[in-house]
């Protein structure tokens, strides 16, 4: 992977990583009433991760992100699900939303609501799934193991044969069903 590192692309990707993240959070925050939201914000954030991976190598993404992106997605689903379920604890409707409107020193007038928590969950899901898929594809096309060794335990069973590798002759599976 190091052979393709570029003097120009690398600093640009590093710089844009932060710019794009600021933009992603901006999209997330304005999403309730205006175009934007968790999905779009998550995609923008995922793009910056992919760019980082292209510039620095895919193993760097794992080193910078620290957590398995798929776990990030699972956390996002938990946040979104709990946001939906929580109002029921107080006898309100499933996915009912609540807002708080007020003024905060330095920030001015703000409008906060539970949909923001749901959107943050969506954000995490989108980032997690997109980054995971592209990192797996990127790693396996650049000669690395698709999953780092520590992660294999979460994605494979011991009995599983790797799907890549030379195509084997079709095993005899239950008689003559060759269709």
């Amino acid at each position: 992977m190091n052979a393709t590192r570029s003097v120009l692309f690398e600093p640009v990707a590093r710089g844009l990583f932060f710019v794009l993240h600021v933009f992603a959070v901006y999209l997330l925050l304005r999403g309730h009433d205006l175009p934007g939201g968790g999905f779009i914000g998550g995609l923008v954030s995922a793009i910056s991760w992919v760019m980082l991976g292209l510039a620095l190598g895919w193993s760097e993404v794992g080193r910078v992100l620290r957590v398995d992106p798929a776990r990030l997605a699972a956390m996002g689903l938990t946040v979104a699900g709990v946001t939906g379920a929580a109002p029921m604890l107080w006898g309100r409707a499933f996915f009912e939303q609540f807002f708080w409107h007020g003024t905060v020193p330095f920030l001015g007038e703000i409008h906060l609501g539970t949909p923001l928590a749901f959107d943050a969950g969506v954000f995490l899901v989108v980032v997690g799934i997109t980054v995971k898929m592209i990192v797996v594809l990127g790693r396996s096309t650049s000669g690395m193991r698709a999953f780092p060794r520590v992660e294999a335990d979460r994605y494979f069973s011991i009995l599983e044969e790797p799907i890549e590798g030379p195509a084997s002759t079709p095993k005899e599976k239950g008689g003559t069903d060759a269709g």
Binding site: G81, A85, A93, D153, R154, F156, S157, G174
Partner: protein, 500 residues
């Protein structure tokens, strides 16, 4: 009121928590099984509540229908959630007992729970687009489960499943768009109210035919069943049991919901088409079953053939025949899932499910043979087992409507079902080939057989005491066919004021 949410919220939370703690850990496995038990209890509570006090509606987020999305539980939907949660419990426990934690696949349990979310949401939703979402959850989980421990051969077999269902989803999407264009709403209750004015309009008929294509594909009806019998045999036993029991039945449930509740009852051409497609399906399916010579292959083709009995009953479209269809669904989910599990135990004992290399099971495990025989005879429709009552009602309705060709087709299909079941029986149980070894020393088979016994006990209860379930099915069908009642219950549910 919020009880309606429980059958789909519980598997969702279980799935994400198990994803985080790991599907192979003791905590993850224990949590999943406990949650499955909880889901059965929640679904039962929902059924009792719905049967006792009428349609339960939840306006999600407090936004009332027709603008918000509603979750609706009538008796039919609640009955389906009970059946689904029981099947998923059996499949999950079977999977946990079959494989020690070390060897099991870490993603199977969470994916099964996501599959449960999709299935339960399809039953409970009251909104066409929400139904599309439910189908997608269900399908994506099933794609993953199909290829979870797949080798090249399995992937090849799974491909038609993916291709056909992707086409189905696209058509569904188009159908939803056309519905909105034609009726201006996607809420089932509102669709029911507005479509009444369009009776006789060819556009409504075209839309109904598109729905038939979409949901007939999911159910595995005549020209559209190619994906099913080749992909199911590649699945691991517990997953195959859940797929076989539930996935096609989701399609049938939606067909019933569409024909009985949403679309006007005057579309007799649609009903006749369903009936004739069913006649073709049941014969072709059972012929396919006879041509197979391994247990999972035979059983997979039987799904196709049996599905047609339910749609045939729906196609007759009288109150009694819809009752028969609902009764038949309940019977079929339990019997089919348990047959797959029994076949799995037999395959575990013989280390193969190729009928040419099986044998000696009757001598080694007679009770397994009894379980198999009970379910096989029930599938063929012998009295007094559960399959008989559904078929009896269908034949009675068919004769009353003078559909003699279709009645003959269903009887021929039943005899051929019996024939192919006897093929399994003779080759696997009765056959005394001295060269075949039965691995009774494997300690796993007894607990697994007990799970099968539990399923068989439930379906025997249905067969021997058919009256209560029949009453419930009758209540379900009259509630589902009461379009005004459904619409009134859904549209009168209050919520927040919708601001202009």
């Amino acid at each position: 009121m919020n009880l309606v949410v429980a059958p789909l919220l519980m598997p969702f939370l279980t799935a994400v928590v198990v994803l985080l703690v790991g599907g192979r850990t003791r905590v993850g496995r224990g949590l999943t099984v406990a949650s499955c038990v909880g889901q059965v209890l929640a679904a039962l509570a929902l059924l009792v509540r719905t049967a006792g006090s009428g349609i339960q509606v939840v306006a999600v987020g407090g936004w009332p229908a027709p603008h918000g999305i509603v979750l609706v539980s009538d008796v039919l939907a609640a009955l389906m959630t009970v059946l689904a949660s029981v099947t998923i419990l059996a499949g999950t426990v079977y999977g946990v007992l079959e494989m020690p934690a070390r060897l099991s696949h870490p993603l199977r349990l969470p994916l099964m729970q996501f599959l449960a979310v999709g299935i339960q949401l399809s039953f409970l939703t009251g909104d066409l687009f929400n139904l599309f979402v439910a189908f997608e959850i269900l399908l994506v989980s099933s794609y993953a489960l199909l290829t979870l421990e797949a080798d090249d051969w399995d992937v090849k077999q799974a491909f038609p499943y993916l291709a056909m269902n992707a086409v189905g989803s696209t058509l569904f999407f188009c159908a939803a768009g056309l519905t909105y264009g034609l009726l201006g709403t996607l809420n089932f209750a509102d669709m029911a109210m507005r479509s009444t004015a369009l009776v006789g309009d060819p556009r409504l008929m075209a839309l109904a035919l598109l729905f038939l294509a979409v949901f007939g594909l999911k159910a595995g009806l005549f020209p559209l069943y190619y994906w099913l019998p080749h992909s199911y045999p590649t699945l691991a036993t517990p997953v195959a049991g859940v797929f076989a029991g539930l996935l096609t039945k989701v399609g049938i449930y939606v067909l019933i919901r569409m024909c009985a509740t949403v679309l006007p009852h005057e579309l007799t051409g649609l009903h006749a088409l369903i009936a004739w497609a069913s006649g073709a399906t049941m014969l072709l399916g059972v012929l396919g079953a006879i041509s197979r010579n391994f247990i999972r292959g035979i059983l997979s083709f039987h799904i196709v053939s049996q599905v047609a009995f339910m749609t045939l009953a729906l196609g007759f479209f009288t109150p009694l025949s819809v009752t028969a269809a609902i009764f038949y669904i309940a019977h079929h989910i339990l019997v089919k899932a348990s047959l797959f599990l029994i076949g799995g135990v037999a395959a575990l004992l013989n280390r193969t499910d190729d009928l040419a290399r099986m044998g000696n099971l009757w001598k080694a495990a007679p009770w397994l043979g009894v379980l198999f025989l009970a379910q096989a005879m029930s599938l063929a429709g012998l009295p007094p087992l559960s399959g008989f009552w559904g078929k009896y009602l269908i034949v009675v309705e068919g004769v009353a409507r003078r559909e003699y060709v279709l009645v003959a087709a269903s009887l021929v299909a039943s005899v051929l079902t019996m024939f192919s079941m006897l093929k399994i029986w003779l080759a696997a149980f009765w056959n005394e080939d001295p060269t075949v070894v039965v691995h009774t020393e494997d300690p796993r088979w007894r607990p697994l057989a007990w799970i099968c016994a539990g399923m068989v006990a439930i379906s025997l209860t249905i067969g021997l005491g058919a009256e209560p379930l029949l009453r419930l099915a009758k209540q379900a069908s009259s509630m589902a066919m009461d379009r005004e009642g459904y619409a009134r219950a859904v549209l009168s549910t209050g919520g927040k004021e919708v601001q202009p």
